[in-house]
């Protein structure tokens, strides 16, 4: 009888232990995806990667840590800097390990949870697998996924952080990619002056309003509000003899020659230089080009066939409007800043 009682007590103990494990730090998190009211539901829904504060923080550590590069010289943040809307430090092409340059301008990172594809040519189909390109490209971080997993598993800081975030003893590539996706999908910019105006909290100046009207008439077809992209691929007439075939590389369809993804224009003031190869250094150059610098070719977007034909004054008004898309709460958000390792 006594033995049975002891066994019973022991069983109870086991059960209670198990319960405690289940409500461990991960489920205690009250950390949520901050859905802006003016945006649709995001494309990425964290289905296989539940968002937690620990997961997000781990992603943030990783994003800023040069451990992810071959020679520990650069991190994601080297070419995606918060002050520049998570684009590079105002240089056309980015420098990877061994001082190798890529061929395309590092895109600004924001509102990625709404994006259905990634990279200038849309070759990547999911936010979780996007980092595979920069991590393993010899022009970027130059690592292999297998070696990254080995390095992280030797690192006591990350062993602890991955265990806290995902409850795993051994770090694998999936968890690394999940952590990065938790950070990058939370980079949400939705609080520019434009958003304040749309919410009725403030109003545009006359010139901003003039620019907004022109923008709606001439630009919003592709740079669709409120995310300022329609996620399509278009040839904007930069050249007629293509150095970079763009989307055709992915689809192998000549109809996609010279097409690149329409980038968002949020925080565009901070993300210069512009275009897929960073060839235009300021917004004045971009508007001048779109007005009367378009090169014709078979795949040129029909909306740009004859250029936008904007006067200098109209171009200036559009530029003034575009600066209302600058979100200082985004580029200054301490949640996104380089973490201090305690």
């Amino acid at each position: 009888m006594r033995k049975i009682l002891i066994l019973f007590a022991f069983t109870l103990f086991l059960v209670s232990c198990k319960k405690e494990v289940v409500i461990s730090p991960i489920t205690k998190d009250a950390f949520r995806f901050n859905q802006p009211e003016q945006f649709s539901s995001p494309h990425y829904n964290f289905e296989n990667n539940p968002l937690t504060e620990k997961g997000f923080e781990l992603g943030r550590y990783l994003f800023y840590d040069p451990i992810l590069s071959l020679d520990s010289s650069i991190s994601c943040s080297s070419c995606h800097a918060q002050a520049h809307g998570f684009a590079d430090h105002n240089i056309p092409l980015s420098k990877g390990v061994d001082k190798k340059f890529g061929t395309r301008n590092a895109p600004a990172l924001m509102n990625l949870a709404w994006s259905t594809s990634f990279m200038w040519d849309g070759g990547v189909n999911h936010i979780e697998v996007q980092p595979l390109v920069p991590l393993t490209s010899e022009h970027e971080l130059g690592e292999t996924m297998a070696n990254l997993v080995i390095k992280l598993n030797k690192n006591s800081f990350y062993k602890k952080k991955f265990k806290e975030a995902f409850g795993v003893e051994t770090i694998n590539d999936q968890k690394l990619l999940h952590a990065l996706a938790q950070f990058t999908s939370m980079l949400i910019s939705s609080n520019a002056k434009y958003d304040q105006v749309m919410a009725g909290k403030t109003s545009f100046t006359n010139q901003e309003q003039q620019g907004y009207e022109l923008f709606k008439a001439k630009c919003a077809n592709c740079h669709t509000e409120p995310l300022f992209t329609d996620y399509s691929y278009r040839n904007t007439g930069l050249e007629s003899n293509f150095k970079d075939i763009g989307r055709e590389k992915v689809t192998q369809d000549p109809a996609d020659r010279g097409k690149f993804k329409v980038p968002t224009l949020r925080n565009v003031e901070f993300t210069y230089p512009y275009m897929h190869d960073g060839r235009l250094f300021n917004l004045e150059q971009v508007l001048t080009f779109k007005s009367n610098g378009i090169q014709d070719s078979p795949t040129l977007d029909t909306s740009l066939k004859n250029g936008l034909n904007l006067s200098k004054e109209e171009q200036q008004a559009i530029i003034v409007f575009l600066k209302t898309l600058s979100d200082y709460t985004f580029i200054g958000n301490p949640m996104y800043a380089e973490p201090v390792i305690q």
Binding site: N49, M119, V124, E128, V129, Q174
Partner: protein
């Protein structure tokens, strides 16, 4: 009113009938009743018209139709979504069923399936490649991990088959590299297949025992429709060339050939 009542009764009876039918189909014998056994599918890779050459890493083989002398340094491919069908029509389905068969890793040439209910099995259903769902669902693990070097990062999708090595061209050694993939639309090469166990190769799973299925695999069928490596020595993306090698004209390529690419030779 009466007719309504009658039809309700009829519908109810029909639903009951359907439900019970369905139940009967999906009932799998409980382990306690008949016990569970294992199946080991052992793949031996061959070359030649009659599978007369053994394919191994580093050993030259000659293609019987194209005459090419090929020495493989790498040969890997995915087998996935394995299901075994019992004589009574019920299925045993492997969960998280993704395997990389790698000629350089002897262990990977034996696909081991355990905890199958004992009984007679008529066929194994499987897929060459990785289903489209896993190609579009983000970061994966196990055989589908990005560390396995079987994934295109720049154009998201699994490399379903990787064959690399050298060939003789006028006594010179030249490189070949075939990375075959494509999971959607016109580029889709993912192929569902069935291996039949009957007659001399009937498969019986016995409690606590392992049944061994011997299968001969002939990757030479990659070139059933594709030209000589002297003409085409590299494929690095989904498209027409990958389809020609994997599926072939008339479905006679390596992934699809119903008779000769995967042949059950013995069951023990």
């Amino acid at each position: 009113m009466k007719t309504i009542k009658l039809s309700i009764a009829a519908v109810a009876a029909l639903i009951l009938g359907l439900t019970s039918c369905k139940k009967e189909e999906t009932v799998t014998p409980t382990p306690s009743a008949v016990g569970n056994g294992s199946v080991s599918v052992e793949l031996s890779h061959k070359f030649g018209m009659m599978n007369e050459q053994t394919l191994a890493i580093g050993s030259p083989v000659v293609h019987p139709m194209k005459g090419d002398t090929l020495t493989f340094s790498k040969f890997k491919y995915f087998i996935s979504n394995v299901k075994f069908k019992k004589a009574d029509g019920t299925y045993w389905t492997e969960s998280e069923s993704y395997h990389i068969v790698d000629l350089a890793t002897p262990g990977s040439l034996k696909l081991n399936f355990s905890d199958l209910p004992a009984g007679t099995y008529t066929q194994m259903e499987y897929t060459i490649g990785v289903d489209s769902a896993r190609n579009v669902s983000g970061a994966q693990t196990g055989a589908l991990s990005s560390t396995n070097d079987m994934y295109w990062d720049w154009n998201s999708g699994y490399i379903m088959l990787k064959a690399e090595g050298t060939y003789k061209d006028n006594k010179a050694d030249k490189m070949f590299a075939f990375h075959l993939g494509g999971f959607s639309g016109a580029d889709n090469i993912v192929t569902k297949r069935t291996m039949v166990f009957e007659g001399a190769t009937a498969l019986t799973v016995t409690k606590d025992q392992t049944s061994t299925v011997g299968v001969e695999v002939n990757p030479g069928l990659l070139w059933h429709s594709a030209p000589s490596v002297k003409t085409l020595n590299m494929v690095h993306m989904p498209g027409a060339a990958a389809k020609l090698m994997a599926l072939g004209d008339g479905g006679l390529g390596f992934f699809a050939n119903p008779m000769y690419s995967f042949q059950v030779k013995s069951v023990k």
